[in-house]
């Protein structure tokens, strides 16, 4: 039998909340799939759409942007900007025909290790039936 497809997820996590949340999941030894490549950024508001497209170009099967809950941003408003920008990216991605399930955004606080693991688990489950993302990927 062929090996089961394991999607690769690039996760842009804000340093103050989501990255801490993923750390918490790690130190608490919560189980979640090893499919994620986390990239810590200063703020979800600092995630340029370019990073997202480039992750897909470099072969990501799914991309997650995760920041602090509204009102909790270390920089006060960063995640509000992100919310708008990501909404636009999401619409654009859907419009050009990439499966919308491949791109997610979440709010994960430093205390929400459990929520983080759940998000990843669900994301992996959602990506598996889609198979590898080849549409935007560069030829090898």
């Amino acid at each position: 039998m062929a090996e089961e497809f394991e999607p690769k997820i690039i996760a842009f996590l804000c340093k103050w909340c989501s990255s801490a949340g993923s750390d918490l999941a790690g130190v608490s030894r919560m189980k979640y799939p090893p499919n994620v490549v986390p990239i810590t950024v200063m703020c979800s508001g600092s995630v340029s759409p370019l990073y997202i497209f480039n992750a897909f170009q470099k072969g990501a099967d799914g991309v997650l942007v995760s920041g602090c809950h509204p009102g909790d941003c270390h920089y006060i408003k960063g995640n509000f900007y992100a919310r708008r920008r990501i909404a636009l990216v999401k619409e654009l991605i859907e419009y050009i025909g990439l499966e919308p399930q491949r791109f997610k955004m979440s709010w994960v606080s430093a205390a929400e290790g459990k929520k983080y693991t759940k998000i990843i688990q669900d994301f992996v489950q959602e990506l598996k039936p889609l198979g590898p993302q080849k549409k935007l990927r560069r030829e090898k």
Binding site: R85, Y95, G97, K135
Partner: protein, 343 residues
């Protein structure tokens, strides 16, 4: 009615008075169906100026050259530049003002209303001509275009060959100007986003097939970027060298510049370029659709930008270029912005 003779009179006046450095307007080109930009410096040259539905170009692009030139000169002439603008072009000026790329004193805006018309779509005309070459064109009462080819003369109602964007235009008159000709009647097209419907109704895979086929054609001549008045960055993701380099830029800075998008016209790279450009125009594109007009391989680029225009309108009630004082789409937010897609 826009009266060309009156415009010329005004142009002559402001040149004679020295009120403007020069005037950017339209003149005839060797292509009967398309005007060419012209730069009138002397009052005696005003007779070159024309105004009709062949005046496609968004001349606001040339304000970028002017700004760069001024920055290089030691004692620049600070008088404004006179410029012909249509409704859509005027919105471009507003965005540049909003982004503080230019100041109001930099331009003397000669506003020209498209009234109930707009500009022609060359491709629609070529379809009607079925391969014959136009030799001469005339406009009959702003209703019809009369095209003479070698074989025959045909009359086409203008409404049938107007550019898509003009048919979907909601404000066909300049929203900012120093002098103005024509009417200020708001148009209310029933379906301002009709051109998007066909793609929106496709399945995910069909959408992909469509865009993959279209964007694979891209030869990366960057005409879309070059013609766009909003594409004024000194540093663009697709350039091999950061054009903002100065003598003080260190080797480290230069070598650390990330090559996000390769020069190869491969599908993935083309998507990278066009998606980034679409995002960068979100809330800034004023739908002059010059990018689509100039594309030598006919990529329907307007449909990318128009989509984000629609999203901005529907999700954030935002419209670009109507008010130079409004905050830009992506550097502002409202508490009630949608977040149902976020977990």
């Amino acid at each position: 009615m826009v009266n060309l003779e009156e415009i010329k009179k005004e142009a002559k006046n402001i040149l004679e008075e020295g009120k403007v450095k020069y005037i950017i307007g339209y003149a005839k080109s060797s292509n009967a169906l398309m005007a060419a930009p012209t730069f009138v410096k002397k009052p005696e040259d005003i007779d070159k100026l024309i105004w009709d539905p062949t005046c496609f170009q968004n001349l606001v692009k040339f304000l970028l050259d002017e700004k760069r030139k001024k920055a290089r000169e030691k004692e620049p002439d600070i008088r404004p530049v006179g410029i012909f603008v249509k409704g859509c072009d005027s919105r471009a000026i507003n965005v540049l003002l909003q982004e503080k790329f230019i100041t109001r004193e930099d331009v003397y805006i000669i506003g020209l209303s498209c009234e109930d018309l707009g500009v022609l779509d060359e491709k629609k005309i070529f379809k009607k001509l079925k391969g014959e070459e136009p030799e001469k064109i005339e406009f009959d009462q702003r209703k019809n275009i009369v095209i003479s080819t070698k074989e025959k003369t045909i009359k086409i109602p203008l409404k049938e060959i107007l550019a898509e964007r003009c048919l979907e235009c909601t404000s066909s008159f300049p929203v900012i100007s120093d002098v103005f000709w024509g009417d200020r009647n708001n148009r209310s097209p029933k379906e301002p986003f009709k051109s998007l419907e066909q793609i929106e109704s496709l399945s995910q895979e069909k959408k992909w097939d469509f865009w993959q086929q279209q964007l694979s054609k891209c030869i990366r001549c960057y005409a879309c970027r070059s013609v766009c008045p909003m594409c004024y960055c000194d540093e663009c993701v697709v350039d091999s060298i950061n054009l903002a380099i100065t003598a003080d830029t260190t080797a480290e800075e230069k070598s650390q510049k990330i090559k996000w998008i390769e020069k190869s016209p491969e599908s993935s790279e083309n998507f990278g370029y066009h998606l980034v450009r679409a995002m960068h125009l979100a809330g800034r594109c004023i739908d002059c659709s010059e990018c689509e007009r100039v594309c030598p391989v006919d990529i329907p680029l307007r449909l990318l930008n128009k989509k984000l225009e629609k999203v901005a309108k529907e999700l954030f009630d935002y419209k670009a270029g109507l008010d130079p004082e409004q905050p830009s789409l992506v550097s502002s937010f409202k508490d009630e912005d949608p977040e149902d897609f976020i977990r």
